[in-house]
């Protein structure tokens, strides 16, 4: 990466790869943009992504852009420890002084890391929220993940109300079922849930793709305001160059599971080098 930073990175990813299927020694060599495929012709495994290395620094917003099927959402799932990678490692500066591979942790530790250090917002609220519960209960879930101490009801309740206020939702609807909320409001509840435990990294997977344009703008505004207020480092996955331009400082462009171009967002968008990026920028509606 072109950016040099004094403090250590919050998140460091080294040579991360994910293969769906049996996998064989030829998988990596026979796939990628230069071969124009991500399915290994020998063993028919899908190489979701391979050879991804990146560093995320304090108060930085990193964008990952690419077409559908380029592996960007799979990468985010791996970063959130939802899936085991095929190879590579992820380090977080708060886990073992940034020297312990997160995937080497036990299932309990991983769950604790996921709850304490990461906040995640998915494209579809059905994935990130429990539709049978109230909005407040959804936000309460990460706050109540404890079996050591008895939680305090009033403390949890006031934290939920605070978060509700922070994501600009009407306090009066905190005990309404999440089903009765509009799409944009459900995304706001997801953001509140992601922020509940004061995470050190926020992962956003196409947070505004399912929303109409005006609601999209207000949710993006909210994300930007939270980022300015808290300096929270964010990894945002999107196929929308507008979102990338608005929020991010640095960008990775992915195609068929590989990073084809990486650098400052301004540079990539104004002077794309890779033919795919050029095509991407040229086809953006602006």
């Amino acid at each position: 990466m072109g950016v040099k930073c004094e403090s250590p990175p919050v998140l460091k990813v080294q040579n991360l790869g994910k293969i769906y299927g049996p996998g064989c020694p030829n998988c990596v060599g026979l796939t990628g943009p230069e071969h124009g495929r991500n399915v290994c012709p020998k063993c028919l495994s899908i190489v979701a992504f391979y050879g991804i290395s990146l560093e995320l620094f304090e108060a930085e917003v990193l964008g990952i852009v690419g077409e559908s099927g380029s592996g960007k959402s799979s990468l985010l799932k791996c970063l959130h420890l939802d899936e085991e990678p095929w190879c590579g490692s992820v380090y977080h500066k708060e886990v073992g002084n940034g020297e312990r591979d997160l995937f080497a942790c036990s299932a309990q530790q991983k769950r604790a890391i996921r709850n304490k250090l990461f906040g995640v917002v998915y494209q579809s609220p059905e994935v990130g929220l429990r539709m049978g519960l109230t909005a407040g209960a959804n936000i309460a879930e990460p706050l109540l993940l404890t079996n050591k101490n008895k939680p305090n009801f009033r403390a949890v309740r006031s934290r939920i109300l605070h978060l509700f206020h922070q994501v600009e939702l009407p306090i009066g609807r905190v005990d309404d079922p999440i089903r009765s909320f509009s799409g944009g409001m459900q995304q706001r509840v997801q953001i509140a849930k992601a922020l509940a435990c004061n995470p050190s990294v926020l992962l956003l997977d196409e947070p505004t793709s399912g929303l109409d344009v005006s609601v999209q703008a207000s949710v993006l505004d909210l994300i930007r305001r939270i980022q300015w207020d808290t300096g929270l480092p964010i990894v945002i996955v999107s196929h929308d160059l507008g979102v990338i331009r608005l929020l991010t400082q640095r960008t990775l462009v992915m195609r068929l599971g590989r990073v084809v171009e990486a650098g400052l967002t301004d540079q990539i968008l104004s002077d794309p080098q890779h033919p795919y990026t050029q095509q991407l920028v040229a086809s953006a509606l602006t």
Partner: protein
């Protein structure tokens, strides 16, 4: 301990029907064969070693339908020995059909002594109650459990709930308690109140009323739970902590019995059953634990006179 006498099937069943203590039947002692008993005992030992953890076991066929106390019966049959004194209760009552049938079956298959008196029994099989007479060290209380999985209400998939137990991932259970507290101002669980055993596993205490939950905490008797239909058993060893799940600032409460007393024995510190009167408006209350009630009446001559006016002790019960 096989006592085999060659008898025709009819003779055999007649024999066993008429003689409760006669051992001249072609069944193994306590009906189950020794291999099965050993399997269940091994699983009980494992359950005791990991308090509150649900151990899978074979749940063999026995001559009652699954869901009618098979889990409890299998545990009882695998533990009972010739010297044991057995008590079986159904919702506190010694005289209900279910309790009587189980007690007669076990005594027929073992020749063991049976009793209705809680202090006298060494082995008590129960459905949905803990006796109101405090248990003593050395006693074993065997619960019949319909649903052993406390997390099933919040997560229907067993594969997931097992993982949640393994990782101590109990957030969803707390979310349920949070939501009930928000909507109703308190936790609305009546029976089957979830408890945390030994600070580790959340356990279903079987559908006992909340009234009985504090009696499980650091109990002097060994508590065993069997769910025959679900093929799971679990245990709370003596003197183990059992805490109901509650928020720090929302205390756990038992059923409100303020101002109510047993119509027969006058007890106010036992769990009471409501008996609606014929007028459909008023009700009276009697002890759910018939043994507790009748022994109180026998001990206190003043109360006994009062009760004789009303009903005979043996008729009290099954509400």
């Amino acid at each position: 301990m096989r006592t085999e006498v060659r008898l025709s099937r009819t003779q055999r069943s007649l024999e066993s029907l008429h003689s409760g203590k006669d051992m001249s039947i072609a069944y193994n002692f306590a009906y189950l064969n020794e291999a099965i008993k050993r399997e269940i005992r091994r699983k009980i030992l494992k359950a005791i070693a990991i308090p509150g953890y649900q151990v899978a076991y074979a749940s063999p066929e026995i001559p009652i339908a699954r869901g009618w106390g098979t889990g409890g019966l299998q545990i009882t049959l695998s533990l009972i020995g010739p010297g044991d004194c057995l008590k079986v209760i159904d919702q506190g009552c010694d005289d209900s059909v279910n309790a009587v049938n189980l007690r007669r079956f076990i005594s027929m298959m073992t020749g063991c002594e049976t009793t209705t008196e809680t202090p006298k029994a060494t082995l008590i099989q129960t459905r949905h109650r803990v006796p109101d007479t405090p248990l003593r060290p050395g006693q074993i209380l065997v619960f019949q459990v319909p649903i052993p999985e406390p997390l099933r209400e919040v997560e229907p998939r067993d594969q997931i709930t097992r993982r949640m137990h393994a990782e101590g991932d109990y957030g969803l259970m707390w979310v349920k308690l949070y939501e009930e507290t928000v909507l109703w101002g308190r936790v609305t669980v009546g029976a089957r109140y979830p408890v945390l055993v030994h600070g580790r596993y959340i356990m279903d205490p079987s559908p006992i009323p909340r009234w009985d939950i504090p009696k499980l905490d650091r109990s002097e008797a060994l508590l065993l739970f069997g769910a025959g239909r679900e093929k799971r058993l679990y245990a709370v060893p003596p003197y183990t902590s059992v805490e109901p799940l509650t928020f720090e600032d929302v205390p756990f409460t038992v059923e409100n019995q303020v101002g109510k007393a047993c119509e027969l024995c006058g007890s106010t510190n036992s769990f009471l059953d409501e008996i609606p009167a014929d007028d459909g408006v008023t009700s009276t209350w009697i002890c759910s634990d018939t043994d507790y009630c009748s022994r109180r009446r026998l001990q206190d001559p003043r109360v006994k006179r009062l009760s004789l006016r009303m009903r005979k002790p043996t008729e009290v019960g099954g509400a």
